[in-house]
Amino acid sequence: MPDRAPMTMFSLTTRAMSAQMVRMNAATSNLANAGSVSSTEAGAYRPIRAVFAVELDRASGLAGVTSSGLVRSEAAATKRYDPSHPLADADGNVFEAAVDETAEMVEIMDSARQYQNLVQALQTAKQLMLETLRSQ
């Protein structure tokens, strides 16, 4: 892989865009699982969150970003008394995933803005590079 090659503006932006993609996918998975119920507390869906880390390239001085993993939230599932629910346990309780829809929406919006910013920065950089190349 081009891991050994020095980082350029292009690889820097590619990596950052992939990282934002992971973050957006995590938030979308959480939204998709909002309201899902389980018959046990352990079985309830717990929201995931992408964690980013800096990836410093000493050769070029650029600092890329990588998603170092997905972390499950510690938020406890909401217990709801609903004996008529087919998944209810012996006491008539179901456990609902602790997904904060608003927070997830904000996360997606923030990620989309940063993604947009990256694309724009790359566009400008590319245009300047082309101008430099074309000058005789």
Partner: protein, 116 residues
Amino acid sequence: MNERLFGIHGAALTLRSERMGVIASNIANAATPGYKARDIDFNAALDARISAARGAASDPRTGMVWRTPTMPSLDGNTVELSREQVAFAENAVAYSATLSFVQGRVNTVTRALKGE
């Protein structure tokens, strides 16, 4: 030779390109916990480059500064997207300007060589 041909503009163009990379790194790390935004102090760095070209010893990383955030965030990240955007745009315009100086110089020399 480079310095005699392009004057200050050769070093300035390299430096503008490096600064573009540094600001792009900041934009890329806008959501990384604990990331400290960096920038290049253009005047200081250019002075260092020029004195290095004239033979004086200097650290190639002169002019690298940490950015002071207007409002620190809880996760230790000091990137402010709006500031980075403005800095990037300003740097891109300055790059274009320097590039046109270099181009003008090349054109002049080319014309002199052709003897038109």
